[in-house]
Homo-oligomer: 401 residues x 2
C-alpha cells in the first residue's frame, strides 16, 4: 500500500507510536547452529513485549538485497525503497546535516588530481586529509555562477558536497563527471533529459570556475562530481499518518532521512539515556517517535559480537523507562542486518516486534532471528511495518465500504 493510499485511511487515535530502531540489529550465529547477537543477549523486557505482542522478520528492500541506511530507514517509515529513491547527492547532504531546500541540486564531489593534459592521475587526490581538504572546500564554496547559488561543504577526506541552489524546482538528470577510473579525463555533465539542460549549463559554468580556482594546487587540482540529485518531493510522514512525528538520533544521516519525510528531528548524545529523555521531553507535543540507536551497527561493522550483545542488553534495560512515557504501540526492529561475523551490512531479514493494541497469540518466546522466523507476523517487507503498527494503534480506517 502506497503512502498516498495510507493517507486516505489514517484516522486519529489516543495511542501514540514509538519506533525504536537498533541500527543493523539482525545478525548471524558466530558458529554454525549457534546463537546470533540478539539471541545471545539477555533481553527479558523485549521478550515480554514480543510475547504480549507479536513478532516476525522483515526484508528491508527485497529478498536478497543488502540495504544502505537511507533505503533501510525509508522502508521503516512506510516508503517502499524501490519506489522512493534518494539520489546519492541528497544522501551526501543528509549525512552532514545539510538542510536541502526544494530548488537544490546536490552532487557528491571528489577532490582529485589531474596532470598537465587534464588526465586524471588520482581520483581521490592521494586520499587527501580532511584538514588539507578543508581550505580547498572553503575556496570552492560560494564561487559565482549565473543562475544559481553554489555551496560547497567538506564531508570527509577527499569527499565534498556541492549544492546548486536554484530559485525553483528543476530536473537534474545528469551524467557523472567522474569517469570512475584514472587515466581518463573528467566527463561532461551531459543532461539525460531535455528538461535537465538548464542545470547542466550551470554545472558546466561551476566546473570551469572550480578548475580556475584549483589550477596549480597540489595535491588536489581538480574536482569530480557524481550522483546529481534533487530533494525528493514526496507525501510527508505527517500527511500520510496524521501524526506529529519526532525523531531523535546521534548521527546526521538518520536525522536527515527523518527530516526528508517531514519529521521534526533532534540531535542527542548516543545511548539509551539521552534517547529516553528526548522521548519524555517531546511526548506531549507529538504522536510518533523515532528513536535511533547507532551502537549495534557500529559494533557489527567492527566485528565485535560481544559489544553488539551488550548494547542490545543496554537497550533492553531501557525498555521500562520508554514504556513509562506512555506509548500505546511500540515497534522494535533494525533497518537492516549487520552481523559481526561479516563486519558489514547484509541482506538477511531483520527481526521485529510490535507491542500494544490487539493481536493474535504469539508462540515465539524470545526476541531473536530464529523465534521471529516462526512469529505471528511471518515475513513481510519493511514498508508493511508502518501499516501493521498503525493498525494496532487504531489509526487506520477500513479500506472500501
Amino acid at each position: 500500500m502506497e503512502p498516498r493510499d495510507l493517507a486516505e485511511l489514517s484516522q486519529p487515535s489516543d495511542a501514540k507510536v514509538l519506533l525504536l530502531v537498533m541500527d543493523g540489529l539482525g545478525g548471524l550465529p558466530a558458529e554454525p547452529a549457534g546463537r546470533t547477537e540478539l539471541e545471545t543477549a539477555r533481553t527479558p523486557n523485549l521478550d515480554r513485549l514480543l510475547r504480549e505482542g507479536g513478532g516476525g522478520l522483515h526484508d528491508p528492500v527485497s529478498p536478497g538485497i543488502t540495504p544502505g541506511s537511507g533505503p533501510g530507514h525509508l522502508g521503516l517509515f512506510g516508503y517502499d525503497p524501490l519506489e522512493y529513491r534518494i539520489g546519492r547527492g541528497v544522501l551526501e547532504a543528509l549525512g552532514i546535516d545539510f538542510d536541502l531546500r526544494p530548488g537544490d541540486v546536490a552532487a557528491r564531489g571528489n577532490l582529485a588530481t589531474v596532470d598537465d593534459d587534464g588526465v586524471i592521475t588520482d581520483r581521490r587526490a592521494g586520499r587527501i586529509s580532511s584538514e588539507a581538504a578543508a581550505p580547498l572546500c572553503e575556496r570552492l564554496d560560494g564561487l559565482e555562477v549565473e543562475g544559481a547559488e553554489a555551496i560547497v561543504r567538506p564531508v570527509k577526506e577527499h569527499r565534498f558536497l556541492l549544492v546548486l541552489r536554484f530559485s525553483e524546482r528543476l530536473e537534474a538528470d545528469l551524467e557523472d563527471t567522474d569517469p570512475g577510473r584514472e587515466g581518463a579525463r573528467p566527463l561532461d555533465p551531459e543532461p539525460r533529459t531535455d528538461a535537465s539542460r538548464r542545470v547542466a549549463g550551470v554545472v558546466r559554468s561551476w566546473l570551469e570556475k572550480a578548475r580556475e580556482e584549483l589550477a596549480g594546487e597540489s595535491p588536489a587540482n581538480a574536482v569530480l562530481l557524481r550522483g546529481f540529485a534533487t530533494r525528493p518531493h514526496w507525501p510527508t510522514f505527517p500527511e500520510v499518518t496524521g501524526m506529529r512525528a519526532f525523531a531523535a538520533a546521534a548521527y546526521p544521516m538518520y536525522r536527515g532521512v527523518a527530516r526528508l519525510v517531514g519529521m521534526e528531528a533532534t540531535t542527542v548524545e548516543d545511548g539509551t539515556g539521552p534517547l529516553a529523555s528526548a522521548l519524555e521531553e517531546h511526548f506531549d507535543a507529538h504522536d510518533f517517535f523515532f528513536l535511533h540507536v547507532k551502537g549495534t551497527d557500529k559494533a557489527g561493522e567492527d566485528g565485535d559480537f560481544d559489544r553488539k550483545v551488550s548494547i542490545i542488553e543496554d537497550v533492553d534495560s531501557a525498555i521500562p523507562r520508554l514504556l513509562e512515557a506512555g506509548p500505546g504501540v511500540v515497534l522494535v526492529t533494525g533497518d537492516h542486518s549487520t552481523p559481526a561475523r561479516l563486519e558489514r551490512h547484509s541482506s538477511h531479514p531483520v527481526p521485529f516486534l510490535i507491542w500494544g493494541g490487539a493481536g493474535r497469540t504469539e508462540r515465539a518466546q524470545e526476541f531473536g532471528e530464529t523465534g521471529c522466523a516462526g512469529g505471528a507476523y511471518g515475513r513481510v517487507r519493511s514498508c508493511h511495518l508502518l501499516p501493521l503498527t498503525l493498525a494496532r494503534a487504531g489509526r487506520l480506517a477500513k479500506f472500501g465500504a
Copy 2:
C-alpha cells in the same frame, strides 16, 4: 527487484553458482497426511545441504497460479514471469530448438480441415500424424511473400511453427486466425495496433499462398495461426548478474528459455551423469550453471509416484560429484510442482534449498515440502531466488548508501 536494478548491484566474486532444477519437483502426498514424493525419497545429501544452508517454498508465478515451463524457468532466472512474458509463438520455437533472431515474428500453427465454403470442419485435421504432416509442412516452408522470409517447421501431429523473418524488429500484435471452434471461418490476422499493420499485411499474403498450396489436399487443406509473438528484447542474464552462464538440458524448451536470456546452452543426454560431466567440462569457463533434470516432471505427469521418488534419489546421489566441481553456492529446486497424484503441473509452492555463503540457523531437517514450509527462508516468489542466491555468493553490492 527488477533485473535492471539487480544489474546495478552486481559485483564479482569467486563463488560460482549452481542452479539444479528438478522439473516439477513439488508434489503431494499419495494419501491424506502422507509423505510427498520428495519426502518419501531418501535424500541424505540434499538434507545435509538444507541443514547447512537454508530452505523455503517458492511460488513460481503468484500464489495459486500453475506455471508452464517457460514462466517457471524465467522466474528461477530472476525474471518476474508476470512482467516478462513470452508469446506462444516464441515458446513454440523454443520447444523445437529453433533459433529465433531479432526480426523474427513467430506463430503457432495448426493444420486444419475446411469444407468447400471455407468453414472449419476440423481444427486439427483429424489429429493428422506427424508423418502425414511432415510433407505438408515441407511444402509450406519457403513460400514466397513480399517483405519477409517465411519459414515453416513441423512440431508434432497437426502443430507447426511459422516464422516470418523481417530485416528489422517490428511490432506484431495481431489477432489469432484460429476462431477456437469448428463451424466458423478462419479469422483475419487483424492488427491490434497501428504499428502492427505491416506484419499483418505479410501474414495475409502468406495465408493466401498457404491456402493455394494446400487447396484440394486431404485431410489438411487449411492453416490456423495463433499466438503471434516477437523474440523479446530483455536485459540478458550475463548483463544482469555479471556471470558467464551455462545451461545443460536434454530437452529443447529448457535450452531455449536459457538461450532467450543469453545463456550458453548445451544438449546433454537425460540423467545426472551427463549433467555432472557437462558441469565439470564447462566449470572453468563459466560462473553460473543451470542443470535441468526432466525425469521428475515426466514421472509426475505419468502419475508414477515411485519413479519420481527414485529419480529424486538418483539426483541426491549425484550431489557429492556436483559439489566436487567446486560451486560456492548451490540452489536446488523445481520450476513448479507436478504431483504424481494429479498427473499434471499444479500451483503448489515448490521446495528449495540454498547452500553456501553465510546464513541463519535452519531448523528444518529434511528437504521436503513440510520441512521447507517452516524453513529459514519462508515463502518467497521464484524471482527472488536469484537475488537470495547471489547474496550468499557475495555477488550483490549494497542498495543505496
